[in-house]
């Protein structure tokens, strides 16, 4: 059985990628199971999707714990533990990353011995949730890596899955996916089917007997004051609003009132100050600012500029 996981951010098309690959396997005569797994259902948040494909009926279900291939559409997810990109990766797992860095850099950084294949990173975009056609590109590369999906089958799967989107969109997705398929030619068949977990020799589950804990400890409730400030919702942001104070006319009540999260404070001079620890990047302030003094900039770019000392 092939077990494949796609990791990306909400908006990057990981569900679509899994469906394209699932359809392609299915058209090649495989039994298939594909599914997305959402955590927080919002744009920019880490999500993953998975595909199982086998010649016989599939009885396994749920999250893939021992993947044969892990596809990472957005390399900024790798260091985020909650995204689970590296979960269950073994020596024979192929890791395919959309990145500007090279294979050995990733192998060293992650301290893994298994094969790492890089997809030449797509063009820089302002909002990473908008990476163009990355879902189709990942599906195309994955289809070649498993080595059992013909180029025409991949194209057929894309036409099926995207049929509602119109010819123009389909053509651009086809172009990107087929290009990725062709680039991976040298690695065709690198991903091999994994085996079933043997019942003869296996790691015994280390079951615990749950002790009784008093309700003070074991009730799933939080008693505290003003602790929502501790949740850094700023991490959700893919776009950052930046105030150009040379154009700000100090009508502070507009942006600070419209901010749905109270993340715009006003200092004693009447200057609005954005709290980037909690701004979720909804860009409502950008839309509302009367003199258009708030600009939306790429969060990734802004972070890079901050670490290199430049102001965004």
């Amino acid at each position: 059985m092939y077990r494949i996981r796609f990791h990306g951010r909400g908006g990057q098309g990981m569900k679509t990628a899994s469906r394209i690959l699932g359809s392609a396997f299915f058209l090649e005569g495989f039994e298939v199971q594909d599914a997305p797994r959402y955590g927080a259902e919002r744009r920019g948040a880490p999500i993953f999707a998975y595909v199982r494909a086998a010649r016989a009926a599939i009885n396994e279900r749920g999250i893939i714990s021992r993947p044969d291939l892990v596809v990472v559409a957005d390399d900024t997810l790798v260091p985020v533990p909650a995204s689970g990109v590296l979960s269950g990766i073994g020596a024979r797992t192929v890791l395919l990353i959309n990145t500007t860095q090279n294979t050995s850099a990733w192998q060293q950084r992650l301290n893994i011995s298994g094969p790492v294949i890089t997809l030449p990173a797509s063009a820089e975009v302002e909002d990473r949730a908008d990476l163009p056609y990355i879902g189709a590109t990942c599906a195309g590369a994955a289809a070649r890596l498993v080595g059992v999906i013909a180029r025409d089958t991949l194209a057929g799967a894309i036409r099926t899955e995207l049929s509602a989107l119109g010819a123009g969109v389909i053509d651009r997705n086809l172009e990107n996916a087929l290009q990725a398929y062709d680039i991976m030619q040298a690695h065709s068949g690198l991903v091999r089917e994994g085996s079933m977990t043997s019942a003869i020799k296996y790691a015994h589950p280390d079951w615990a007997d749950l002790p009784f804990d008093t309700a003070r400890i074991s009730a799933p409730t939080v008693f505290a004051t003003a602790n929502s400030v501790e949740v850094r919702t700023g991490l959700w942001r893919t776009l950052r609003p930046v105030v150009d104070y040379s154009r700000c006319n100090h009508c502070w009540w507009v942006c600070s009132t419209f901010c749905p999260d109270g993340a715009i404070a006003v200092d004693t001079d009447g200057k609005p100050v954005i709290d980037y620890d909690h701004c979720k990047g909804c860009m409502i302030c950008v839309a509302q600012c009367p003199p258009h003094a708030i600009e939306a900039v790429s969060e990734e770019q802004a972070q890079r500029d901050t670490t290199t000392g430049e102001t965004p």
Binding site: R19, G22, S23, F26, E31, V32, Q33, D34, A35, P36, R37, Y38, E41, I58, N59, E60, R61, G62, I63, S65, M196, T197, S198, A199, I200, Y202, A203, H204, P205, D206, W207, A208, L210, I217, P220, T221, V222, F223, A224, T225, N227, E230
Partner: protein, 413 residues
């Protein structure tokens, strides 16, 4: 016949479409919403006839479903988890009206704490309300069971609403190859709904009244509902045999997988049972004599079939994806009730609780349950109930609790 990749939710919507439903009262909830979205899309584009109306709550939705079914139209609805519980008062009421319709429940664990993922405490909460229950393990079963459910509900020997249950995420959002029956074949199988005396026609207004009754007549009506539900067992066998003959797919009241010569059996409901199927194959590779029983019908409870299929086994592991607080696994208790006093009853019926809130059950855990079972059968001692939960998981919880404790100390300093 060709197969196509469908999610469990879209399979449920196909079931409703092929059954030719007239009316869909709806209210959204994760992970069910895709069902009503799909139906709304088809009705909007004219691919499907019928009316879909969004109600202001699940309580109103079930009231509308029961009311509409009383006027003699074919009704479909869907919900999940908190929504099913919010409708609970009306689940009992419309079953008491003896109105046949089909409700799909997409199983999701209950609050608190809150979760989006699957377990069976929601559907177990509706166990005693009078709705019949069909539990599905694959997307194909979801579609087929929806068709079967209309036959079951509308049969004059039953006349009760039916819930078709599928697991959130593991089926609701998971695509699998599904064969969609031809529209005329499905329509031929389901047939027309003959509401008999229950009807509503223009210009001949009627109202439905339900009386307030004392214990004696009340007992009569309640017990009649119970008898109607029990009739569901033989009616189900009839219609599932007809379904099998028509479509070539067999959906018995109890799935028996590699049970013929098995000394040991897993018993469980729903889509996680396919994991047990996989474990049975691997254990058989390793020389085990083991199989799986999966009741598809929970109400009515197929006691006779289960007794027969469990007779003479050395040990049985019941894996409940639910937890009745202060008692334990619901299916375990029900099975013991069916077996007690029967001479061929297995000496060991062990209880395992697993998969709460979508928590995975690994292949290794199935193997370990089999080991536990063999040990118990050898010693003749039934093990205490076991929650499938590892020391690693407990360590993670302890870490989180330590963080919470520290934060609280700091706040109060």
């Amino acid at each position: 016949m060709s197969r196509t990749l469908l999610t469990g939710n879209v399979s449920a919507a196909w079931g409703a479409r092929l059954a030719g439903v007239d009316y869909v009262p709806a209210f959204p909830i994760t992970p069910q919403t895709e069902i009503i979205e799909t139906l709304a899309g088809w009705i909007d584009s004219g691919e499907m006839a019928g009316r879909l109306v969004t109600l202001e709550s699940e309580h109103s939705m079930i009231t509308a479903a029961g009311g509409a079914a009383t006027t003699g139209v074919r009704v479909f609805s869907a919900t999940s988890s908190q929504g099913l519980l919010y409708a609970m008062e009306m689940l009992y009421t419309v079953a008491g009206w003896r109105t046949p319709f089909v409700l799909v429940n997409v199983s999701r664990g209950l609050s608190a704490p809150i979760t989006l993922e699957s377990d069976h405490n929601d559907i177990m909460a509706a166990r005693d309300c009078g709705f019949l229950q069909i539990h599905c393990a694959s997307c194909q079963e979801v579609l087929d069971s929806t068709l079967l459910a209309y036959r079951l509900a509308e049969d004059t020997r039953v006349r009760l609403p039916v819930i078709v249950n599928l697991d959130g995420f593991y089926l609701s959002f998971t695509r699998e190859p599904v064969e969609i029956p031809a529209a005329d074949a499905a329509a031929g199988f389901v047939g027309d709904f003959d509401p008999q005396n229950a009807r509503f026609r223009a210009s001949t207004p009627e109202s439905q009244a339900v009386a307030v009754l004392g214990g004696s007549p009340y007992s009569y009506f309640r017990y009649e509902t119970h008898l109607a539900s029990l009739n569901g067992l033989s009616v189900y066998d009839e219609i599932s045999a007809e379904f099998s003959a028509t479509f070539g797919r067999n959906h018995p009241a109890v799935e028996a997988y590699r049970t013929g010569d098995a000394d040991y059996l897993f018993v469980m409901l729903g889509s996680f049972a396919t994991k047990a199927r996989e474990a049975v194959d691997r254990l058989r590779d390793a020389g085990w004599s083991i199989g799986l029983l999966r009741p598809r019908l929970l109400r009515p409870f197929p006691e006779e079939s289960l007794r027969r299929l469990l007779a003479g086994r050395r040990g049985v592991a019941v894996i409940d994806q639910n937890l009745s607080m202060g008692k334990g696994g619901v299916l375990h208790g029900e099975l013991l009730g069916a077996l007690y006093g029967h001479p061929q009853a297995p000496p060991v019926v062990a209880s395992f609780i697993g998969g709460l809130g979508g928590r995975d059950i690994s292949a290794e855990e199935f193997y370990e349950m089999a080991q536990t079972l063999r040990q118990a059968a050898d010693t003749g001692r039934t093990p205490p109930p076991r929650l499938l939960y590892t020391r690693d998981e407990l360590r993670e919880i302890r870490k989180l609790q330590a963080v919470a404790h520290q934060e609280r100390e700091e706040l109060h300093r």
